[in-house]
């Protein structure tokens, strides 16, 4: 079926299988593989995107459900050629190792700071508890969020 989506401020069209997830469509049909597929059941947060400014797992959104809504992916976070302060903080603090969880964490952190500009450590942990990271043990991710909040 033909679908029209608004992704990172651009109108996009795709021909999708009706049962397709937004994650698959973004990655395989629209050339936006930044959102990652790690579990496909909402347990890891690697596919996090903003759907009408709400943080969601794109693997759990049917592509057809996204029609007519605004989607922001990790590819739409940086402003022009400048990294977003959250991205910059992840680079600075060593919060990236294999990096597979990173796109989802970037989007989740941008969302967190939009709602809580100065989150407590507990708030950071709870807000990011749906984004699994297997490499870092989360310490440097917390550092990154705190750094971005101060920036």
């Amino acid at each position: 079926m033909k679908i029209e989506l608004s992704v990172n401020g651009e109108r996009k069209e795709a021909d999708v299988w009706p049962g397709e997830s937004l994650l698959f469509t973004l990655r395989e049909k629209l050339g936006l593989p930044g959102s990652k597929n790690a579990c496909e059941q909402g347990e890891c947060g690697s596919c996090s995107v903003l759907l009408d400014e709400k943080l969601v797992c794109s693997c759990l959104v049917l592509t057809a459900q996204a029609q007519g809504h605004e989607i922001v992916t990790v590819e739409g976070i940086a402003e022009d050629d400048r990294l977003h302060r959250v991205q910059e903080a992840f680079v600075q603090t060593g919060a990236v190792q294999c990096g597979f969880c990173t796109p989802g964490l970037i989007v989740a952190t941008v969302d967190l700071l939009a709602h809580r500009p100065e989150p407590s450590d507990d708030e950071i942990r709870e807000a990011l508890s749906g984004n699994l990271c297997r490499c870092t043990g989360y310490q440097k991710i917390f550092d990154a969020v705190r750094l971005a909040a101060r920036a």
Binding site: G19, Q41, E43, L60, V61, L62, Q65, S129
Partner: protein
């Protein structure tokens, strides 16, 4: 496979009547997993995201009407969280912010999993489920709606449109046991309320029987209530925990819940 996206409740009910096998999808937190892992290939999906009548909540003469599309995030927010505090606590235990932003009460009821986190607090509050079809609207007590593990009383042409609750005002709490400190399916869960006005103790357990179960007792039977809760459950051994542990945990949770609601 086809996807229908009705723009009104009337259209949604008409579509459901025309194609009863269409699977309703709201937040997708259950349906999409089935699709992604090739466990279900329904003929049609009925996307309810665009049906405005299902969204939000309202209050009429003290009766709360929670739309089927109400998300856990919305259930956690004041002032609704003050009306239904155990539901708000239960919502906080659901998955992650991502899941709470998408997952809905209607979806939790539709899936009717014994582990559904919204079900125990709603059961404790004697909630009713509003079911609609082109034939009309009916309401069922939640206990009557939940008929078995992942089975409910929905007719093929019906949609869940709302949950109706008269908030008791009773002290209440919700607790969920999982082997990790976030993002777990309940090994078992319990909502507890102490209704001083009606002189009643109420508890509803999750993941400890084929359906979410309600246990009630007079207020003066506080001492024996935890044991009654544990005995009422019919847990099984599975990949998440043993029957023995679940029964034990329900007893502990009931004691703690009563303590929270009585002090």
């Amino acid at each position: 496979m086809e996807v229908f996206t009705p723009r009104s409740l009337a259209e949604a009910l008409r579509l459901k009547a025309e194609q009863p096998s269409a699977v309703p999808i709201e937040g997708g937190t259950d349906v999409m997993v089935e699709l992604n892992f090739d466990r279900a290939r329904p003929e049609a999906l009925l996307n309810l995201n665009e049906v405005a009548e299902l969204r939000g909540w309202s209050r009429d003469n003290g009766l709360l009407r929670l739309g089927a599309s109400l998300t856990y995030t919305e259930a956690m927010a004041a002032p609704l969280s003050e009306q239904l505090p155990a539901l708000a606590e239960a919502s906080r235990t659901v998955g992650s912010p991502q899941i709470r932003n998408r997952g809905t009460l209607g979806g939790n009821l539709g899936t009717a999993s014994p582990a559904g986190d919204a079900l125990p607090p709603l059961l404790v509050e004697a909630a009713e489920v509003e079911l609609s079809s082109v034939r009309g609207v009916r309401t069922l007590a939640l206990e009557d709606f939940l008929v078995g593990p992942k089975r409910n009383a929905l007719e093929a042409d019906e949609l869940i449109t709302a949950v109706l609750v008269q908030p008791s005002g009773a002290r209440q709490t919700f607790m969920k046991v999982g082997p990790r400190n976030a993002m777990v399916i309940a090994v078992c869960s319990l909502a507890v309320s102490v209704d001083q006005e009606r002189c009643e103790l109420r508890a509803a357990y999750g993941s400890a029987g084929p359906v979410t179960g309600l246990v009630t007792a007079p207020l003066d039977e506080v001492d024996s209530f935890p044991e009654r809760v544990a005995e009422a459950a019919s847990p099984i051994d599975d990949v998440r925990g043993s029957a023995r542990y679940r029964r034990h945990a329900l007893r502990v949770l009931a004691e703690r819940g009563l303590q929270r609601c009585l002090t």
